[in-house]
């Protein structure tokens, strides 16, 4: 009882403005939800092995003896339970189910998503589950093993991030991102490590046995900004794209530095002594690790693109290659001790444009869908495990250490960002404003990577202290910073993402300016950004595309993509308000799909500078779904046009008012019935202009006067030419 009314109380505290009925509904939903997931949690609590099977398991589950094959032949059992046979997969599935139900509950819980980011709620759920498990079994719940994390949970998230990375923006800001990632991380690591050592020296009684190398090691793992946490928080915020890509790109690229420093300090700890040469070797290793990851990723990306060229005979498994090659690149680079994150991101970025061209529409959808699904599940699992692993009995607390770590993390990050931005702004065209800098500094969230790394440290007396401190830092950044960053963004009035789609004229002019700048750079002989972009595009067209994209796809590519874009933007185009410009009588109004096809043509056929891909975050997945649903009816409609043309032509000669009005309405009805069977808004738009034109006619349909004939005539003519020309375009 207490459990069921506590959530409703919690919710009503959070959202006092919700009506009582809504609160009542929430109060009913939550117990239902707990009822569904309760047995799951109970299963989890009781089925996880803890080394010594307890006696009361027997009567609860009526389990057969440990060795299922040895069954006393006294009597045949009608019903028997053999849990150990399916134990491992069963538990994994239970955990995933728990994670997914938690996510579901989060999205159903009314106002909570607006206030609390998803990661926080998931950690809280994990804490709850961990608490339940601990309470039931009086021993620590299972923790997230570092291997499972690095090999299974992290790759899907990074792959998803890399596949949907906005390429142009990323490469434009690459210098800044690299500076933040490499120098910023170095600054953080050294700063935190050295200052913590100072703190340890100041408190020799409790912290005396932590050496400098240990502090540096700890600094290296706690300084890393985590892409998972950053993604989950920033996606809900919609800040301007430049800011987003800076924070996010930094979190991706600093993996190279973090991995190297961590391994470096760890190996230093094992060595008897550290020389300057070792430090130099460490420095070289940073470069090797980063570049090595890059090349591994490039190699596998090109291989994937090449393979996808031949998948048209077995289209069903085409998505599989994307995942296999990406995962292979990750594993290969991990094997070679390169940066796995860089490899998988490079692989995704490389293979994307070729795979998208080569592979069928449905396969593209499958790839995107599966990527989003896996990364979503992974992220949820990571946060839940973070919560669960917090409940442990091996914590060691030390006020000075924990507090100074927290403080140092914040201070070091702030100073690092400020210093680097001062340098960067001199070299950039678009200065990074103070508000953006604050958000960059404040958005440095730590996450599960730190957590796994801290578990991997070789055992030494104060390891438990490190674990506790890491957990505290992670919880602090995710909860405090994660929850307050959204109100801060609104308070500081940080520039948000531009909502409006660019207009066609904007796109034409932007392309023209791109060409102009390349031309001017050629004249002057300056090898600037546009020059390199141009060169790459020419290289791409001449060699890569010819080699990596199948012939039959190249010819149709633009037309195919016109339709793809039409379908994809239809959904968005439907929500967009029409432009203010009234269509002039001599020109016909353009259909949304024509607008979309125009955009499509521009963004693909002109020099391919600006690859606007569809959804970028898994929170916008539902938009993709509806666009996908509409794809089918659109293809089905290709056979319809001939019929419709017939209809319009036969109705044209009838100019009599009463009949005309009827037949006009009839035609509108006919086209509307097409939309009923297709359930696609494309054709529903078609009667809309005709209905608009017919508006003056329909209300007066009962008593149509002769003077309405001429305007309707013109309207029909417009309608006719509209339809006929539209068919031509199709």
């Amino acid at each position: 009882m207490y459990m069921s009314c506590w959530p409703s109380l919690f919710l009503s505290d959070l959202c006092p403005t919700i009506s009582p009925l809504h609160g009542y509904r929430m109060a009913v939903l939550w117990p239902l939800y707990l009822l569904i997931s309760g047995p799951l949690w109970a299963c989890l609590a009781l089925t996880i092995p803890d080394g010594h099977p307890e006696a009361h398991h027997g009567p609860l589950f009526n389990t057969s003896p440990v060795s299922p094959s040895v069954d006393l032949p006294n009597a045949l059992r009608v019903f028997s339970l053999d849990y150990h046979h399916v134990q491992a997969p069963f538990e994994i599935v239970l955990w995933i189910m728990l994670a997914s139900l938690a996510k579901l509950g989060f999205h159903w819980s009314g106002r909570v998503p607006a206030v609390v980011p998803e990661s926080c709620v998931l950690i809280m759920v994990g804490l709850l589950v961990g608490g339940v498990i601990y309470g039931v079994r009086h021993s620590a719940p299972p923790t997230l093993s570092a291997d499972a994390f690095f090999l299974f949970l992290l790759p899907p998230i990074v792959l998803d991030a890399g596949y949907f990375l906005p390429g142009r923006l990323f490469f434009e800001n690459l210098g800044t991102i690299l500076l933040y990632a490499v120098l910023g991380t170095l600054w953080n690591v050294l700063g935190i490590g050295l200052c913590l050592y100072g703190v340890c020296l100041l408190a020799p009684s409790s912290l005396g046995d932590i050496s400098l190398l240990h502090c540096l090691l700890f600094g290296s793992l706690i300084a890393a900004v985590d892409p998972v946490a950053v993604l989950s928080v920033f996606q809900e915020m919609h800040v301007n794209e430049q800011l987003h890509i800076l924070v996010f790109g930094e979190s991706l690229l600093n993996d190279a530095v973090t991995v190297v420093l961590y391994k470096l300090f760890e190996s230093f700890l094992r060595l008897p002594s550290v020389t300057g040469l070792d430090v130099l070797v460490g420095g070289c290793r940073v470069v090797v690790v980063g570049l090595g990851g890059l090349f591994v990723g490039l190699f596998f990306g090109l291989l994937a693109a090449l393979t996808s060229r031949f998948t048209f005979r077995a289209q069903v498994i085409a998505p599989l290659f994307v995942f296999l090659y990406s995962y292979l690149s990750y594993l290969t680079s991990e094997m070679l001790h390169f940066s796995g994150i860089m490899a998988i991101v490079t692989c995704a970025v490389t293979m994307k444009q070729y795979v998208e061209a080569n592979v069928s529409e449905r396969s593209n959808t499958s790839i995107q869908y599966f990527l989003k699904m896996w990364s979503s599940v992974s992220e949820t699992l990571i946060f839940i495990f973070l919560g669960v692993s917090t409940i442990q009995d091996i914590h060691m607390w030390s006020w000075p250490f924990v507090c100074s770590t927290l403080l140092l993390c914040l201070v070091m990050r702030a100073t690092g960002v400020l210093l680097l931005t001062a340098v960067v702004n001199k070299l950039r065209r678009n200065a990074v404003t103070f508000r953006d800098q604050f958000i960059i500094a404040y958005g440095g969230l730590r996450g599960a990577i730190c957590f796994s790394l801290v578990f991997l440290i070789d055992d030494f007396p104060k390891k438990r202290l490190f674990i506790t401190t890491t957990i505290v830092v992670i919880l602090f950044t995710v909860f405090v910073q994660g929850m307050t960053i959204k109100p801060l963004v609104e308070l500081l009035d940080v520039k948000r993402k531009k909502r409006a789609l660019p207009t066609v004229s904007e796109e034409i002019h932007s392309r023209l300016l791109d060409h102009l700048l390349s031309g001017i750079e050629d004249v002057v002989g300056y090898w600037g950004q546009h020059y390199w972009k141009d060169r790459f595009e020419q290289f791409n067209k001449k060699y890569l595309r010819r080699f990596l994209i199948g012939e039959h796809h190249r010819a149709h590519s633009s037309i195919l993509r016109v339709y793809q874009e039409v379908e994809r933007r239809e959904q968005r185009g439907g929500d967009e308000a029409p432009p203010v410009v009234d269509p002039r009588p001599s020109s016909r109004p353009l259909l949304p799909e024509e607008i979309d096809s125009i955009r499509r043509i521009l963004s693909r056929n002109l020099h391919n500078f600006n690859n606007k891909t569809a959804a970028y975050s898994r929170h916008t997945l539902h938009q993709e779904v509806t666009a996908d649903k509409m794809r089918k009816p659109l293809h089905r409609h290709r056979s319809l046009p001939e019929r419709r043309v017939d209809n319009t032509i036969t109705l044209c000669p009838q100019q009599e008012d009463g009949e005309f009005a009827k037949s006009y309405k009839g035609r509108a009805r006919l086209s509307r019935s097409h939309t009923v069977c297709s359930a696609g808004p494309r054709w529903s738009k078609l009667p809309a202009p005709s209905v608009q034109a017919a508006q003056p006619v329909d209300p007066e349909a009962a008593a149509v006067c002769p003077q309405d004939a001429p305007p309707t005539e013109r309207a029909t003519k417009k309608q006719l030419s509209f339809i006929l020309e539209e068919e031509k375009l199709v």
């Binding site: 023209l512 060409h515 102009l516 004249v523 002057v524 002989g525 410009v581």
Partner: protein, 210 residues
């Protein structure tokens, strides 16, 4: 070798044409050297940094063929328009100061410019940059981008990849969006309005020209 240039009343800019990354194509570099040596005699005894280039002086002039020597420009879809933009209408040659004045459009905009109403806009202000881009479309210099001109540009940029009908509808759409006074063509103000969301300074600047 340093060249000091008077950029339209906004002060001097010193170009050091031998150190990288600034590197003129060979033709233009030769033209520049010839003119520079010609200008060295007959100049007042000023500080070396402040010796201005006299505009309009007869010098080795660039011809359209020199521009075509820049190879990549021929692969650029609007290459010939760019070359045309350097030449004033009716002129067969371009002298170095005019060349520089055109390039001055591509300097990054200064952020805190005091807007004196009396002084004309410097070459790198947003309006001037947009005017330069406008001139690329408006070849006949009538102050408007007609549909035919827009179609021409689109044809050059899109080439063989789209059908004539699609080109028509794209041009149609662009004019519809931008044309506020319904005269069937895009005037400079309409052009400017349609690009108000685009960061022109970012797009139309070559950084080293500071």
């Amino acid at each position: 070798m340093s060249v000091v240039l008077d950029l339209g009343g906004r002060g001097w800019s010193v170009w050091n044409i031998e150190t990288p990354p600034f590197k003129l194509s060979k033709q233009l570099q030769k033209a520049l050297e010839k003119e520079n040596s010609r200008q060295q005699d007959g100049l007042q005894e000023l500080q070396p940094e402040q010796r201005p280039k006299r505009p309009g002086a007869p010098a080795a002039n660039g011809m359209p063929e020199d521009f075509e020597a820049v190879l990549e420009l021929s692969e650029n879809p609007i290459g010939d328009r760019i070359v045309e933009a350097f030449f004033k209408p009716g002129q067969e040659t371009v002298d170095f100061p005019s060349f520089v004045r055109v390039l001055a459009h591509f300097r990054p905009t200064e952020k805190n410019r005091n807007r004196d109403k009396g002084q004309p806009d410097p070459a790198n202000s947003r309006t001037q940059k947009l005017k330069f881009a406008f001139r690329l479309y408006d070849r006949d210099r009538d102050g408007k981008i007609s549909r035919a001109e827009l179609l021409q540009v689109l044809r050059e940029m899109l080439g063989m990849q789209v059908t004539e009908e699609q080109l028509q509808s794209i041009a149609e759409r662009a004019i519809q969006e931008a044309d506020l006074d319904k005269d069937g063509a895009i005037s400079f103000d309409e052009f400017r309005k349609s690009l108000e969301k685009v960061n022109i300074d970012h797009k139309m600047s070559i950084r080293f020209l500071e």
